[in-house]
Structure formats: C-alpha cells, structure tokens
C-alpha cells in the first residue's frame, strides 16, 4: 500500500508552510523526506496523519481517501507514526507501552473489561507479540522497566516498536535518528531496512543525509513549502540545487 497526496496547501497566519504539495511514496519502499529547517516537513506529516487540517488538498492510503479523518481513524487505516519529540507513556512499563498499541483489543470494551470474558487469552497473545517486537528492536532486557527510565535512544526504539505493534501497512517516522548516538542510529537504520523486507512502506523525515543516502529508495526534497526534487537518492542528492536548498 502506498501513500499519496494531491494539492496539499497550508499556511500559518500568512506564512506559507506547504504550497501545493503533490507527492507519492512508492509501495514497499523507504522514502526519505529532506529539506532545510522550517520547510514544512513536519507540517506535512501532521496533515497526513490527521493531527492538522490543511487549507486545501486530498490524501490517500492505497486507493482509500483519508482526507480529514481524525488521527485514530488514520492509524486504523494502517498508517501509524512517531513524533519529533519522543512521545510514550513514561509511568508504565516498556511492555505495557507496546501492548497498548495493538488494535481492536476486546479488553478495551467496557463490558469485557469488567467481566473479563475472553480477555485473558488475548492479553497473553498480545504479550507474546509485544515481547517479539521488543526482541526485534533489542529492548527485551528492558521489558519490565518503566518507560520513563530508558535512555533517549532506547525510547526512540520503543516508539518504533509501538508503531509496529499497531500492525501498520505504512510507517511515518519524524526524524527517527535526531539526537541519537551513532551506534543506536546504525541500529535504527538496520531495523528500517528489515521492516521494508517485511513488506511495509516506510516514510521518514530526516536531516542525516548520509543515512538517507544509505537506505532510502526514494527521496523527496521540500524547500520553502514546495517539492524541489524527487527521485532515487543517487540522482537527487548529487543535484546542485539540493545543496543550494540547504545552504542558500
């Protein structure tokens, strides 16, 4: 499943954040969205995931249009995300954070919660799945620690695990490598490639151009709210106007 948008436009009291953006991220690939500070990348992510309503434009997951859907419905359509500043539930354990993300849990119905019919079985299955994901991102040792006690890099890995636990088709990651030490960053890049192997589409906003060059199949460059270039990294990253966008 891929994600595409047409004619997305958004401005904040006069300042244009997005001016008529129409992009499409290829199915099953890793797409990097790059561009200098304040170019509208996070704004685009917030619009696609329903947290921000644009002035104009429509966007789709696969063939289904998700324009204007609230965030929880967008997530239910198979499009989950992470945030620039790490967001998680620091008061509960790492395992609980991942178990929270599983969609359509019967135990989330009020009567089931009270009478506990068929909840225990599902919880056990949820726990197994969550533990598998923690193992996948390398946090199995921290399973029962409070999420608040994790290091920043570990918290980034946890949010990735939560994203996966929501069983998405497409992952939208907002600066997955920002503020992370080099070894964790390499680890995250390896995980993103494995996620792609599992057939999921990955789209991430990032500044670390070296990382983009290493794993991205497709690159979209946004500057001053418009798409200035898009295509495979080899082609796009060497074009002079890319450096210009960053540096001018």
């Amino acid at each position: 499943m891929n994600i595409r948008c047409t004619g997305l436009r958004k401005s904040f009291d006069g300042v244009i954040a997005l001016g008529n953006i129409s992009v499409q991220c290829p199915t099953g690939g890793i797409t990097a969205i790059i561009g200098p500070n304040g170019a509208g990348k996070t704004t685009l992510l917030n619009i696609l995931t329903g947290f921000l309503s644009p002035d104009a434009g429509r966007w789709f997951v696969g063939e289904r249009e998700i324009t204007g859907l609230p965030p929880y419905k967008v997530a239910r359509m198979g499009l989950t995300r992470t945030f620039q500043d790490v967001r998680l539930i620091s008061m509960v354990t790492v395992l609980e954070n991942v178990m929270l993300a599983r969609p359509d849990q019967t135990g989330e119905g009020l009567l089931h919660a009270i009478l506990r019919i068929g909840v225990a079985g599902e919880e056990a299955c949820n726990q197994r799945e969550a533990s598998r994901l923690l193992q996948f991102v390398g946090l199995e040792k921290q399973t029962n620690e409070r999420a608040g006690t994790l290091s920043y890099g570990q918290q980034k890995l946890l949010t990735l695990a939560c994203c996966l636990a929501a069983q998405p088709e497409i992952l939208l990651l907002d600066e997955p490598l920002a503020g992370v030490h080099t070894d964790t960053a390499a680890n995250i890049l390896r995980l993103l490639q494995q996620i792609r192997q599992n057939g999921k589409t990955v789209v991430f906003v990032e500044h670390n151009i070296a990382a983009v060059r290493e794993i991205a199949d497709f690159v979209i460059v946004i500057d001053e709210g418009t798409v200035v270039a898009q295509g495979p990294p080899r082609e796009v990253l060497n074009r002079p106007e890319i450096l210009e966008a960053y540096v001018a």
């Binding site: 995931t49 947290f51 609230p70 965030p71 929880y72 997530a75 239910r76 989950t80 995300r81 945030f83 967001r87 998680l88 539930i89 620091s90 008061m91 509960v92 609980e96 178990m99 929270l100 993300a101 969609p103 849990q105 019967t106 135990g107 989330e108 119905g109 009020l110 089931h112 919660a113 009270i114 506990r116 909840v119 919880e123 939560c162 929501a166």
Partner: protein, 290 residues
C-alpha cells in the same frame, strides 16, 4: 455505638464516591469537580421515585444510575473538548447548574425544603431497617464499586485511560478513539456516584440541595487527590483521612457548628500540603499534569 455505625456507613458511601471519581481523575487524568452533582442526581431520583411513585427500591437505584449516565453525556461531551484549567471550570459550572436544578425545580424536588420521609430500602423482601443492615448494604455497594473500578483500570481499557492521562496525542496516534474512552469513563463514574446517592437518600431518609453543593464536590476531589489518585488504596485512604478522622472530632466535644469549618480547614490544609510535598498523594504515584 450507633454513632460509630453512622461514621462507617458514611465512610462506605463516600468510598463509592471517591473510587468512582478516581476512575476519572486518577486513571484518565480528568480533574472533574462535579461528582456531588451526580451523587445528588441519584439521591433525588431514588427519593422522588420511591416517595412520590412508590417505586421498588432496586428499580429506584437502577433508574438513578441510568439518569446519572445520561447526565454524564450532557456534561462530558461539551467539556471534554477543553483542556486542563478550562475543563475544571466547565465541571464547576455543571456542579452549579445541578445545584440550581435541585434547589429551584420546586415541582420535582420541592426545592430548598428537600424531600423527607424516604422509606428504608427493601430488596427482594429483605427490609433494611436497622443501621447494621444498612452498613452491610453500603459495604456491598462500596465493594462492588471498588471491584468495577479496579477491573476497569487493570484491563486494556484502563491501559488506554492511563495513556490518555499522560499523552492523549500518543494514544490517538496508535488508533485509540480517546473521546469514546473518556465519555465511557465519565458514564461509569456518574452511574456509581448515582448509586451512592440512592443509598445515601434511603439511609438519611431526608435530602435537600445543601447535601450536594460545590463544597461537597471539592471535598470528594480532595479525598481522591490527598489519598493518592490512580492507585488501588488512594481513594480509600482519602476517605479515611477526610471523613472518618474529622467525624471523630465530635468525640472530643467540638461543637458541631465549629466542627464543619474545622473539617474543611483540615482538608484545605491537607490539599495544600500534599501539593507542596507529595503531589502524588499519600498512597499514589500519579502526579497531575506530569
């Protein structure tokens, strides 16, 4: 002796109120200061139904709880769009509107005169006409409320509430319809408070609007906060500290006129001290707004 029973019955009823409010304030992080409104609603529903229409007690309680659920939608849907301080003020507003209804809808609630002569409850032939029997009924009610709230808070439903409490945007990004969870929690909290209202009405046998004022709501929220919001024993600790202990003031011969003020000063001071030194409360871990 029966004064001790009176305190225990009051403690059981207040426990229902504190535990039910804790589902909202402690587990969902919604600082609602209108629990006395739902408490009053249950009391008046039971009183009016049994005194004016001779309705059978269990039906009275059920009717009160359903009314509580309905009223909770009227309260939660408009106010849940607001954040923090504005939400608190909106719930203050509903508390004041509810009190005005109890106080002025004379044809239904007989206004300031209140409703006297509420018969003791009979359940399937069991006439609860002594304090001992009433204590048993009140404790059953309290235990039921405690089980319901703890079952909810320790279930996946509760897990989502705890997510909403700390970061609703994160919960929404994982596909949780946060509004549904908050409205449902409101409804359960209101229904349990209404049940406490029915029990209270049949125990006190005479209710008037002054039992269900803003001050009562502030007392109930203080119990939850001082005791420790969002924890198993927090609300009950709050009841112990803010109901049982002050009631025993009467033993040391404090004239009742002064006792009411002293009791409020006590929980006012406790609330301030708690916020300064132990914002998570005596037995809790959750700190508001963290």
């Amino acid at each position: 002796m029966d004064y001790l029973l009176h305190i225990l019955i009051l403690a059981a009823i207040y426990s229902i109120l504190a535990v039910s409010l804790d589902l909202l304030a402690g587990h969902a992080g919604l600082l609602a200061v209108c629990q006395a409104a739902f408490w009053g609603l249950g009391a008046y529903a039971s009183a009016v139904l049994t005194v004016d229409y001779g309705v059978y007690f269990p039906l009275g309680i059920l009717a009160g709880m359903c009314l509580g659920v309905l009223a909770s939608f009227l309260v939660s849907l408009p106010s849940l769009r607001l954040t923090d301080d504005y939400f608190v003020i909106a719930t203050f507003g509903f508390q004041i509107i509810a009190f005005a209804i109890f106080n002025n809808w004379a044809s239904l609630t007989r206004g300031p005169l209140g409703i006297p002569g509420i018969p003791p409850p009979t359940i399937f032939g069991w006439r609860v006409d002594s304090q001992w029997k009433f204590l048993l009924l009140a404790v059953i009610g309290a235990v039921a409320a405690y089980i319901v709230v703890n079952r909810i808070s320790s279930s996946p439903f509760g897990r989502v509430l705890h997510a909403i409490r700390e970061d609703e945007i994160f919960a929404a990004s994982l596909g949780k319809n946060t509004l549904r969870f908050k409205v449902t929690a409101f409804a359960v909290s209101a229904a349990l408070a209404a049940m406490a209202g029915s029990l209270y009405a049949h125990y006190i046998t005479y209710i008037d609007p002054t039992n269900f004022t803003l001050t009562e709501s502030i007392l109930i929220i203080s119990m939850v906060i001082v005791g420790g919001a969002g924890s198993r024993w927090g609300p009950l600790t709050g009841v112990l500290v803010l109901v049982v202990m002050p009631e025993s003031l009467r033993f040391i011969g404090l004239p009742s006129a002064i006792a009411a003020n002293v009791r409020q000063i006590m929980y006012g001071v406790l609330l301030v001290v708690m916020m300064l030194f132990r914002p998570q409360g005596l037995a809790g871990q959750y700190r508001f707004g963290r």
